[in-house]
Structures are given as structure tokens and as C-alpha cells.
Symmetry: C2
């Protein structure tokens, strides 16, 4: 069995959690639940006992390099791979893959988003350990699929087929379904949520990249003489913008033949919306929740407070509202109306 | 004509404007409209050209002495009269009256609350100057009455009788009326709002105190040998709690025979409620107002933002709400429901 590596994708931008997330400080750098650790920090913490710290690579945008270094004092600058521009997940993964391949031809690799929440760390470690063992023995591209608990329309689904244990052969990847379809998926028992977390041996992913995304693969394979030298960043800055922008799901996973899914149930959320944060936060009898700070809601329910540490929201007569305070902005809006919220945030941040 | 003096009553407590006003920092010390000057500071500013700074006395509770000194750097410590406990307005005025009487037997005195708002300073000065002239020539207890613009139920009213000019003889003082009664008052043209501002010569008020509130008057008259000495505070601390707690309106104005009212119209509000602050704040077409900070209200009207300088409220779908942020508290409540607000504030500040 080779050494374990982890590639953490931390290049995400966006202001869906404005006024908390901004272009200057995207979601992965935020301490969402007031625990004192950002989502990125928790992602690294979760790897303890599975991946040695020196084998963790963080891929991020150039502008966030300082933030990553600041939040992860145990991570060396050389472990941070910086993209000059965004090119979706496949180039990011290809770059990291060949970097690791140069160093260790037998590496087993976990690829993780940096901005998801996982509440059951022990179960995460158990699943990942089992997955790493599987890919060290099998020429398989393994993805982690989350057991669905509701007909969620915000996630992609994976349909799986035969396989006796936790690992199943993948039949199809699906786009985000409508509610009708999601209900059918849920009822069938053949679908799980696509978490965007992958486990594979470096040989397997190199082969898959060469097969399915040859052009991208060739570029980053060419870099192997340069990785680890003083020219690396300059070379990446030049080459990265030339490659196709494409996701690893669409470019590799949906096309390769050796794709498997491992069913997992470790309290996962991609934290894609305020509602998903609400779902994860304990509620009182009226459905009011406090993710950060303190919320006191009179005469109304299903509200959520996400304010500063030591701050208190005192609200009367609100129903289904989000009250968020950060960076001089107090946002008060219906927490489930994503479309409306997007309009407002776009207007306020333009 | 004697010298002009002013007594500013700055002992008020209360948390009606919580989370801005608190027991530690009552309303008079707040910069309500984001002008950079507190209500107390504006009260002093307004006297320029009418009363010399050295002739201004501030009566306040002991605990606020430091705050007064801090906010009024031009005021000497000896000009601050500190009450050990609250005893309503009559003892406060009696104490200040005999202090002034010791110093100047012909003084003309204006008595002002420290927590009212007046928007037309020129007109205030014109009225007060005229009032001072009137009381220097007449043995009259003069009160300033505000020309009513609406059937307000939050104020006391004064019914006035004959008198050709701006000064009218007072017929009766009334308690806060119900709406029916307030409408009748307004329609009659014989009533004005009781502003709680008084003008009189020191001889006149000393005589009235001796006549109507003999016990209180005797106590503070006895202090005349002590005022200005090192024993003053100790003596006040001992004597103040022994006197009756009573308002000057009830104790003197409603009983004396020589009570007059001068009609004034200088943009006055006692700022008794959030609604009264809203009324004074410019509104946009939807009735949304920002008293402090910035308010952006989507899909709803008649809201008011009172937040920190440089802060912005971004709210969707609120109607008739107050959003206030201060001291770690974000208050979101119907701005016109005083009763509800009081319950909430009581519960939150107990």
C-alpha cells in the first residue's frame, strides 16, 4: 500500500453567504458555526490519523494563498498550489495529481472540497480509511456517495448498481433533479447524493486523465520536470490559462468505466445555502435556530440568527427569516427564498 | 434685567430606546441622529447667545457625573449638581433654584429637559429670549407650550385662556388624553402640548416653591449656607433622600395662580418613543427611514434603521419595523407597538 495524500480544493469564490462570504473571504475560510475553526481548517483537522500533514496539498486561487497560510500554520508554502485563474475541478486535480505522481508513484489520494461540513468525524475517518484500502487494491475511481434523507433538489445524484458491500459500481451520474424526480430517486433506493469527494490511486487517476482528458493531462504531465523547482509558479501561471475549464465529474467520472461509489453516512452538507446551514443547526420548539451569536425570537418561528460572537438578535414577529450580521452589514431576509436573496446580494455587492 | 441662567435636568434613566439607551447610558447622552452631538450636548449648544456657559447648571444623578463632564468639556465640575437618588423634577429644580438664588437674587432662569429634540434653533432662541424678557418684567411662571399638529396621546396638554400676544394665561394642565379627547383638544384651538420647559425669575419661583411646596423649599433654602462649600455634596447626599418625590407640574404649576404659557413652534419632540424618532426622520417614497447608519429596505415600507455609523441594514419584506443595532444587540421589532417593545426590553434587560 502506498502513502496517503490529500488534495483539498480551496479555490471557490462567491457570495452566497453574504455578508459573511465575500470575494475577499469565500465560504471555506469562514467559521460558520462559531466553533473557532473555519471549514477549511475543519477539513484539514478531519484528516488527522489518515494523511500525514506533509502529504496534504491545498489548491487555491493566488489571491487566497495568504489566507490559507494564515489559517493553516502547519502547512508549508510548498504544499499550496495556486491557480492564476479558475478552471473548474479537472485542471486543479490534474495539476495536483502529477505533482504527487512525481513524488510518489504509488500514492493513494483523497480529493476533498474545502467548504463542506461533516458532523461525524469518526465515521468519516472509518469510511475514508476503508476507501483508501479499496483503491490501493483495485484499479478504481471511487467517489463518496451520501445516503439521501430527503428529496433534495440542490444536489446531483449517483445511481449505483451491483456490489455486495459499501462499494457499488456506478451506473450514472445525474444533474440536479426536479422535486418529482428527486422523490423517485429517493424511493428507488438506487441513488445517493454526489458529494464531490473522491478516492483513488495515483496510477488510476493518471490513467483516467490520459484517457478521458488527454489535452489537460498532457499539459500537466509536461510540468513534471518543473514541479518543485523555482520555475513552477511561473510555468503554472503561463500554462494554467491555456487548459480547458471542465469539471472532473463531467470530464472523467461520467465517462470512465471503472467508477465506483462508496455509500457514506457521516452527517454531510455541502452548505450550499442558508437553508442547509439552518438544517444543520439545532432548533428550539418554534424552529428558531442560532448558528452563531445568540438569537431570541418572539412571536415567530423558523428563523435563524448568524451574527457576531457575543452578539444577540432580539426579534419580534419574524417568520422564516435569516438575520445575519457581519462586516457592517445586517441582512434580514426570508431564508428559503434563494432567488430573491441572490438578487439582493448581487445588487448590494455589485 | 438680571442675568440669565439655565438649569438642565439630565437625571433621566430608562431603556425605552434600548439597545441604545441603557441604565449606564440613558437617552440624553446618545447621539440619536448621527450628528456627532448627543441630546444633552445639543441642549447646551442651543443656549449659545442666551445664557453664558458659566451660568448653566446640569442636574443629574451621581452615576452620570462623569458622563456629563466628558460630554461637556466647557462645563466646570461645580456646575454639575448631583442627586444621590431620583426625586422627580420639583426637588431637582428647588435645589438648583436656591443655588442660583444664593449667587444672583435677580436671575432669570430657563429650565430645560436634556433629552428633547428641537430642530429650529433660531426660533427656539427667539422664543426663549422673548420669554426671558417677559419673566424679567412680570411675576410669572412661564411654561413653553408647543402648538399641536396632531391628536397626540403621548403628551400632556395645557389649556390656555385670554392674552393677546404669544403669552397666554394657563387655565388647566391635563394628563395624557385618549385619542377622542386629544382630537377635541386639537379642534378647540385652546390647547397646546406641555413641553416641560419653564422660564421664570428666581424671585418668582422661590416664592412659588415656598407657597406650594413648603417642606421641600425649606430644606433647600436651609442649604444656602452650604452651597459652594466643600460640604455641599455630603449635605445633599444626606438631605435629598428626605424630601418628597413630586413633579414641578403637579407640585407648583397646577396650583400657582401666576402661570402662563408661551406658544412655541420650533420643531419639538420629546423623543419619547421610536415612533417619535421615526416621525422626525426623512422618509423615502415607501416610508422607509434611516436615523443612523444606512437602511436598504426591499419589498416593504415604513421601516426605520438605527444602526452604527458605517453600518448598513439590508432587509427584505419588512413592514413597519425598527431595526436597531447597538452594543452587541440587534433589535428587530414593530416600531409602533410600544407595549410589546416594553415587554421585550424589560425581559431582555432584567
Amino acid at each position: 500500500m502506498g502513502n496517503n495524500y490529500c488534495v483539498i480544493m480551496a479555490g471557490g469564490v462567491g457570495s452566497r453567504f453574504w455578508p459573511f462570504s465575500t470575494d475577499e473571504c469565500p465560504k471555506q475560510f469562514l467559521d460558520f458555526l462559531g466553533t473557532g475553526r473555519s471549514l477549511l481548517q475543519m477539513t484539514v483537522d478531519r484528516l488527522e490519523g489518515i494523511v500525514e500533514k506533509k502529504n496534504i496539498l491545498i489548491v487555491t486561487n493566488k489571491r487566497y494563498k495568504g489566507k490559507v497560510l494564515e489559517q493553516l500554520p502547519g502547512i508549508d508554502e510548498r504544499q499550496i498550489l495556486t491557480e492564476p485563474i479558475r478552471r473548474n475541478t479537472a485542471p486543479c486535480i490534474a495539476y495536483a495529481t502529477y505533482k504527487i505522481f512525481k513524488e510518489d508513484k504509488t500514492a493513494n489520494i483523497i480529493v476533498l472540497p474545502s467548504d463542506h461540513l461533516i458532523t461525524n468525524t469518526d465515521e468519516f475517518r472509518r469510511i475514508v480509511t476503508e476507501g483508501l484500502r479499496f483503491v490501493s487494491l483495485n484499479d478504481a475511481l471511487l467517489t463518496l456517495g451520501i445516503k439521501p434523507t430527503r428529496p433534495e433538489t440542490g444536489y446531483g445524484y449517483i445511481q449505483f448498481g451491483e456490489g455486495g458491500g459499501a462499494v457499488k459500481k456506478v451506473k450514472t451520474f445525474t444533474e440536479k433533479p426536479n422535486l418529482e424526480m428527486a422523490k423517485v430517486f429517493l424511493a428507488s433506493g438506487e441513488f445517493c447524493w454526489n458529494s464531490g469527494m473522491f478516492i483513488w490511486n495515483v496510477q488510476t487517476i493518471v490513467k483516467a486523465l490520459q484517457m478521458e482528458l488527454t489535452e489537460i493531462s498532457d499539459v500537466f504531465a509536461n510540468g513534471m520536470t518543473i514541479y518543485g523547482t523555482n520555475e513552477e509558479q511561473e510555468w503554472i501561471d503561463k500554462m494554467f490559462p491555456t487548459v480547458q475549464s471542465i469539471s472532473i465529474d463531467y470530464g472523467v467520472m461520467e465517462k470512465a468505466q471503472n467508477v465506483y461509489v462508496m455509500l457514506a453516512d457521516f452527517g454531510w452538507s455541502d452548505l450550499g445555502t442558508w437553508s442547509s446551514l439552518y438544517d444543520l443547526t439545532p432548533h428550539d420548539a418554534e424552529g428558531n435556530a442560532t448558528a452563531k451569536g445568540k438569537g431570541v425570537f418572539y412571536g415567530g418561528g423558523n428563523n435563524m440568527a448568524v451574527v457576531g460572537e457575543g452578539e444577540t438578535v432580539v426579534a419580534d414577529g419574524l417568520e422564516g427569516y435569516l438575520v445575519a450580521h457581519n462586516n457592517g452589514i445586517i441582512l434580514i431576509c426570508k431564508k428559503d427564498d434563494e432567488k430573491r436573496l441572490k438578487e439582493i446580494v448581487n445588487e448590494q455587492t455589485k
